[in-house]
Symmetry: C2
Subunit: 447 residues, 2 copies
């Protein structure tokens, strides 16, 4: 496993930094075993008026085609110095995901993305005592021009609503933040989704940075720009597509995460394997035990590979006009469970895990996959200590009425992501036999 | 005046319509005196896979360079048949503004922009009894696939808030609208701004059509995609940039508009003259009387020329990174008045009128314009029966604290749009003598 892990260093162009006060990543992969080295490169910037986005785009193209072999190195580094960088390629809205152990101790990573004088950190009552000081320090050390405000929300999916969102606006307005300010989401997916939507809406859009601190947020929700809040009648029904300027993943923050939350995030990890990355699924079959025991290398790899999968899908279909919908595998059934059980009793990843089992069951009923795939899905989900059946109280009718407000309904037809063919292949379609859906619901519900 | 008025017909390409079930406008200007003719053109579409946006963009480029002389005509038309079309050129987010007398009687104009099966008309208690039936008819006649829901909001700027916005989401979700649905804003700027923001946020963005029914909305707010709601501490602080699929302006709807509302909209019309269209300002000096007496030709011209000015600015700077800010001329002072007086006591255009007088005063104090310009601004605003001084209760401190949350503050500096040079020229700058601002505030406030 270790042999397949690579790390990307950030290499900076001094001219560019001096001119624009920002860095951009250049690909430079090093084998993670042993210490890394910084390969110093000067990118010649042809025209002094070349904009940041142009430069970024050019560099990203280089990135995409660069080779993975180690290159000449010139300066020794501690392992903290070189984050893995996964790029989300979205033209002038492209951004880096920094992944590494202890990245909150590298102020430059955050500071390069702050352009105004004011920052609002949005977090919650659980995460604030753990990491708020660290983040404020990273934002302000050696940076006297920046002042940091914060708003600490109540913790929980049930507060992912309009009333709580208004607290973010209240704080932003009281603090007289202007369009140059930056919102920073510090926490799990709930904080990230809310802070992102607040950033999208405040003054019609301000800068936004994600610092995800749960597995769920690090492997999925912080990447790709889906933001929003819940409505009593359904999850994430109100929101925006709004991309962050960067995502900073400090894997050290997972040390304080409760087991149940850790495992919930693995639901999304299993998802990537099933929908598009059979190799990753197989890797998980072998390494689920390592993940369950919080092996740092296994986690580093899992987060990187998940972010690569997510970034790849998002860059092909930012606004979910097609392909990106596959990221919702298991989510239609899962959202129904979350909605019916009252937000928060079931964790998102737990509900998604059951949803994936149900979707696999339905795919099999349609004759689209082998029984062996259904078994492997069930086995891996059980290995991860995730549930494989909905709560007993849920009826077929409850599923149906919750699914009636799904975002993937088009002109009245509920489209589903279903597995089809070999492991790692799926389809997004409204063209399936309704009886298979009914049979699956019946099989998983008592009434 | 009549001689300078031109009308653009919509000419359709049958091949394209058949393939994509949508029309797009091709420029064809006819002198409005006398009856118009339809000039039937076939645009050769080179590749069958050419997307709608490509076609539109190509046609728009043709539009921009086409000549204004009448051309060969082949079929007689009633005047209802040919709306004026002003295009907002924003790449794949481009859209037409249809302007004409009685356009609500032309169902095809609306229907060509509806792609799903469900429409939600958002309107208010004043406008619904006047025009809702007409709009529902236009949407559904000969179109049995489409069902129309509606939500009727309370009337008034004070309801441009989050609680009222939630009513739109509630209705949309109860009606099980999906991503293919279309929201239609029927009403003035308040309904348009709220409906637009709801459309931007519902399921992270659904289709959206503007049917503005006030002068304010027809000359300004319905065009350009600024949407949003107020916060108790300031106007339009929460929102999104979100473009409609089309704007349909039926000038007949102005017949029911109260005089005070009519005149309020003229505030924005005067604004266009001052910031970028001296010729239009001069035209207004000569024709304000005609506008005040609701001369239909004068209004048709005013709306078209205003939309052209707005469309031009928006297409150069959609997200207000620079140029577009000039549309806020008079608005910093104006918003302060609106905020301090409680929304609704002063109409938006009334507050903007005073704001323009104050901004002209300040520009003169800075030595940037001649006294004669200040006089002409004051005279034209008086001719329009609009106020030229803030309410007596407003103090310098009230202005200052309201202006402290203005969206045009960048890193603590309040940038203003000020007149500079000849009539029709302005600057957007934070680089002015603070004393001039203080002096203006002092001159216009009792304390
Ligand atoms: N935007 C997207 O693309 C996307 C994708 C997947 C999920 N989501 C959303 O994400 C949400 C779920 O995210 P989540 O699973 O992170 O839930 P969460 O944000 O509620 O976090 C889970 C719990 O862990 C706590 N916590 C967070 N970081 C911690 C840390 N480092 N140490 C200790 N405790 C910590 C939180 O306070 C919370 O109690 C759902 O609302 C879901 O809809 C969004
Ligand atoms: N989005 C933008 O770019 C932009 C630009 C300018 C103004 N605005 C916003 O627009 C709002 C002001 O718009 P407004 O002046 O249209 O106010 P409004 O929407 O409140 O309408 C004014 C009044 O006229 C009524 N009305 C509307 N159409 C009517 C008709 N045809 N017949 C009879 N009555 C009718 C309304 O019900 C209301 O009582 C403000 O909130 C302002 O912030 C937005
Ligand atoms: Zn998920
Ligand atoms: Zn205005």
């Amino acid at each position: 496993m270790a042999a397949s892990m690579t790390t990307t260093t950030t290499i900076t162009c001094a001219t560019h930094v001096a001119q624009h006060n920002c860095l951009f990543p250049i690909d430079h992969r090093l084998n993670k075993s042993g210490l890394g080295y910084l390969f110093e490169t000067r990118v010649k910037i042809q025209s002094p008026t070349l904009s940041y986005s142009h430069v970024t785009r050019r560099v990203m193209r280089v990135l995409a085609t660069s080779v993975v072999t180690p290159r000449t190195v010139t300066r020794k580094l501690s392992s903290d110095d070189f984050p893995t960088v996964v790029n989300v390629d979205l033209g002038d809205r492209s951004y880096p995901i920094y992944i590494g152990d202890g990245l909150l101790n590298q102020p430059s990573l955050l500071q390069r993305h702050i352009h105004g004088h004011k920052v609002l950190v949005v977090t919650n009552t659980t995460v604030a005592p753990l990491y708020l000081d660290k983040v404020v320090h990273a934002l302000t050390v050696g940076n006297p021009d920046v002042t940091v405000e914060n708003v600490i929300l109540p913790d929980g999916e049930k507060y992912k609503d309009m009333d709580t969102l208004m607290k973010v606006f209240d704080k932003a307005i009281e603090s007289q933040l202007d369009r140059q300010c930056t919102f920073v989401a510090l926490g799990g997916g709930v904080v990230g989704d809310m802070c992102g939507y607040a950033a999208a809406s405040f003054l019609r859009g301000v800068n936004f940075i994600q610092i995800p601190t749960t597995v769920m947020a690090q492997v999925d929700s912080s990447v790709g720009g889906k933001t929003g809040i819940n409505h009593i009648l359904g999850k994430n029904l109100i929101g925006a597509f709004y991309q962050p300027k960067c995502v900073l993943i400090d894997t050290k923050t997972l040390n304080t995460l409760p087991d149940r939350e850790l495992v919930s995030g693995l639901g999304e990890v299993i998802k990537y394997g099933l929908i598009r990355d059979a190799g990753f699924f197989e890797w998980q079959e072998k390494n689920m035990q390592a993940l369950m025991s919080r092996d740092p290398d296994a986690f580093a790899y899992t987060i990187k590979r998940s972010c690569e999968n997510k970034a790849d899908v998002v860059s092909q279909d930012e606004k979910e006009n097609g392909l990106r919908a596959i990221g919702n595998f298991g989510h239609t059934f899962g959202h129904a469970i979350e909605t019916c059980c009252g937000y928060g009793h079931w964790l998102h990843g737990e509900a998604v895990a059951v949803g994936m089992v149900m979707a696999a069951d339905m795919s099999y009923r349609l004759g689209w996959i082998d029984e062996s795939v259904v078994e492997r899905v069930n086995n891996l989900i059980k290995k991860a200590n995730l549930p494989t059946a909905p709560p007993e109280m849920m009826t077929v009718e409850m599923f149906k009425s919750a699914m009636a407000v799904d975002k993937k309904i088009a002109n009245g037809v509920l489209r589903l992501i279903l597995l089809k063919g070999a492991l790692g292949s799926c389809v997004f379609t409204g063209d399936y036999d309704r009886k298979a859906l009914d049979d699956t619901l019946q099989a998983f519900c008592k009434s």
